[in-house]
Symmetry: C2
Subunit: 491 residues, 2 copies
């Protein structure tokens, strides 16, 4: 994999100057076309060995193009705000919006590679991490991003020479840290691990280009030309045809679905409700204050039919919590900044730190519910969303979040009754709109979408709880109970 980057590539100065003049003008033009076109972001990832000219190349790219529209981010040590959220949070924060170029300096590949070299993980862990990265990058590409990854390589001999040269020049000696030499001792090990990592993560959606780092002219031109070619091609051709996601299973031949087997008969008297409410709210409060919870977080998702009582149920949960440590995120159509990013971005930005509870009133499942049914996104897009959402929730769970998802459901008749009641009650009238009636007309389509959703995204660590919501008292207690038990067993 690295052999072709150890053969002494170089470009003589006169040739460099001639090509540079043409290249930078073309790059600048392509950058402005991207900015005007504004349909996709460009993500450039820079990785590779120390001393191979990574920073210099990034600086040159910023000099050749208009640095106002390039967002260069270097990932050093994590801040405490980053440490208390899922691993990928810091990278989501750094994604460029459509029309812009983001240069990520040592991105999501770095940590797993170093962990493997230092033997904190084994080969299986490395493969799993790289598989996750492949899925993540595929998602970015499916969302439209143009991803270009450059790996700067030096042979062992060349690296030793380069580090020594940097060290002996007083102007550059600061650039060689002790850790660089320590890493150099591990050269062979690094090489092996990186080779595995690059092999797995070099995909059609996000290929690696290995660049020999010895000669500055060569590496600048190679990287610049690759970016120009890919950018020009994409601007000319548009987004490549999407991968065809796996087909949905046909409905069961007996026509029975999970929603049809719900028992709507359960009720609870007002008196029993009052006692139970106090008991379970008290329990939830205790759990949320427990020491163990400080290093965890709870994420509760509410989806459901219109008028199923999501709002009032959520208030029974928040009533048990300290307002300083929870947040309810009502999810409506995405805003302007959010539309410039992958669709999960707006949920990532709302993830809370440890010790907090975040309640989503509607959620990322809009992708496979309203967006699917109303045709707000293409079929391929919502079809791939199932596994993207599973990946997303896995990251939440891996970071210690306790994830619970409620689908609140009522019968079609009950919904009609509640809609009419809302229309007849002055202070409830704002809760019912034309849209609710329109959604109701598509009841069967939504039912199909819900069944597919539950089937494809209910996993042990982040289960769907299909909750009959016909009797409000019974439902609220059941939700509180379920939540308490989930948190209890997780702590």
């Amino acid at each position: 994999m690295f052999e072709s980057a150890e053969i002494g590539h170089s470009v003589p100065k006169p040739e460099f100057l001639a090509r540079e003049a043409v290249l930078r003008e073309a790059l600048l033009k392509a950058q402005y076309d991207l900015l005007a076109n504004k349909t996709f972001p460009v993500i450039i990832i820079i990785g590779g060995v120390d001393g191979a000219g990574k920073s210099e190349t990034v600086n040159i790219l910023n000099a050749w193009m208009d640095p106002r529209h390039i967002h260069t981010v270097a990932f050093g040590d994590m801040s405490d705000e980053e440490r208390e959220r899922p691993r990928m949070w810091r990278y989501w924060r750094a994604l460029p919006p459509k029309g812009r170029i983001g240069i990520l300096f040592g991105a999501w590949h770095t940590d797993p590679i170093i962990a493997r070299v230092m033997e904190r993980t084994n080969d299986g862990d490395l493969t799993r991490s790289m598989d996750q990265i492949v899925r993540f990058e595929q998602m970015l590409a499916d969302e439209g991003a143009l991803i270009l990854k450059f790996w700067f390589h030096l042979s062992k001999k060349a690296q030793r020479k380069r580090l020594k040269a940097l060290e002996s020049d007083p102007r550059t000696t600061w650039r060689v840290a002790d850790t660089d030499w320590e890493r150099f001792k591990l050269y062979d090990k690094f090489r092996g691990v990186c080779e595995s990592a690059l092999r797995i993560t070099s995909t059609e959606a996000a290929p690696w280009t290995v660049v020999e780092g010895t000669d500055a002219n060569y590496r600048y031109l190679t990287v610049g030309q690759s970016i120009l070619d890919a950018l020009a091609k994409r601007l000319a051709d548009g987004k490549p045809a999407p991968r065809r996601p796996a087909a949905l299973p046909e409905p069961a031949i007996d026509g029975r679905t999970i929603l049809q087997s719900i028992d709507f008969s359960k009720t609870l008297s007002h008196r029993k409700y009052q006692t139970a409410l106090e008991k379970w709210q008290g329990r939830l409060n205790e759990l949320s204050r427990s020491k163990k919870f400080r290093r965890r977080s709870a994420i509760v998702v509410f989806e459901g039919s219109d008028a199923a009582g999501k709002g009032s149920t959520i208030r029974r949960i928040t009533g048990a919590l300290d307002a300083r440590f929870y947040r309810v995120i009502p999810v409506a159509a995405p805003g302007e900044e959010e539309r410039q990013q992958p669709y999960l971005w707006r949920f990532w930005r709302n993830l809370a730190r440890n010790g907090r509870t975040t309640i989503f009133d509607r959620s990322w499942y809009g992708r496979v519910l309203v967006e699917r049914v109303e045709g707000f996104c293409a079929e391929d897009d919502w079809m791939r969303a199932y596994h993207e959402i599973n990946d997303f929730e896995k990251e939440l769970v891996d970071a210690g979040a306790i994830v619970t998802k409620f689908w609140m459901t009522i019968t079609k008749e009950e919904q009609l009754k509640r809609f009419k009641l809302r229309e007849d009650t002055p202070f409830k009238r704002f809760k019912i709109t034309e849209e609710d009636w329109r959604n109701r007309d598509r009841w069967d389509d939504y039912e199909r979408a819900v069944c597919d959703m539950v089937e494809r995204t209910s996993v042990k660590e982040a289960p769907w709880v299909v909750m009959p919501a016909q009797d409000k008292h019974w439902t609220r207690i059941e939700v509180l109970k379920t939540l308490c038990r989930r948190i209890e067993s997780a702590l």
Copy 2:
């Protein structure tokens, strides 16, 4: 100030229940009106002594209203991302957008009060901090925010009783920390300092309501009713008439301005330019890598006539810096989320951590330039912006930022020449638009605005450098030199 909150206010339960029923419905309705109206945010600040029922009140407010549209934020220890930015950054992050309610739990008043009680500061420092707060809150109010501040009070006797009661009940004992008792020992001192602080910061724009904390019913109703009254009044009356900012001085009677006394004659040959460029870029690079700079930051503002060469000058600066540690922020019209916040919000969100350089290509000065001249905001709004901007930059400087502001200027004839050149050069044509020609028609208005701006916002710690930009070579070197010298003398 606190006497009327030590007289044993209380509300009997039956009265509470009757009033609560009416109040919560009215509050909920007002909240939805606010949400629909979406013209201003509500900022509720909660302060006061420990054990006076602050959290319980915040929880009740969240229960009475729709918690999905309330953003409650508690400010504990600073995160490292907050520590490396100006003190107010964490509060700007927490401001609610228009239409929403933000409950800030222990906000900007807390730290200065504690610092004074602990004798880390003196009376003069306290007064200065409180004056800053008054100006900040006035700015928020002028930007439309409805600010309500509640101070929860207990007499010394009542506080002792309350802490003991909390401590002896196993369900609430966790709520009393050792620090609470330590603070209690300082009760009298706290009382004195808080009295001064409240006196200064109780203004018409953001008044304090002192609430006796002994009786839960009383404090819930008092706070709830105050919020309802203020919210209903504001929704009915609209924004109060703005304060009239100080008038601008008349132009000097001899008609001479700072822009007319500029010496446009300086030039630099290409050869000298090359040598000087290398020298000053090297110097800037060294400075940006110096150890001392890691705890500081540099903020460079570029404003100037169209075609004065801001972009190309910025590239000469970035060319000297490591792309990982600078960022260029191009400022255009505010986006959707930005329009829901005070106008300085979009600059606060882009402030970098220590050790970084942020270059603003156009800036917050748009308020007193394009917004003034084009009438995008009311006269009162841009008139008050001068001292708001001064306050903002003072916060930057206080946090260790080295602030430098360049006004790049060319003659009207030179601009015409450059416009025409841009129109005639294919790859420069995107740089010239109808708007540039329109702006040019208002040359004199802009000139007046620039003179006022420089006169009112050039201060020693954040000076305006009026830079003749007729000769590009000379200008670029002069900008680099100025910047180096500013950083050098600051470190």
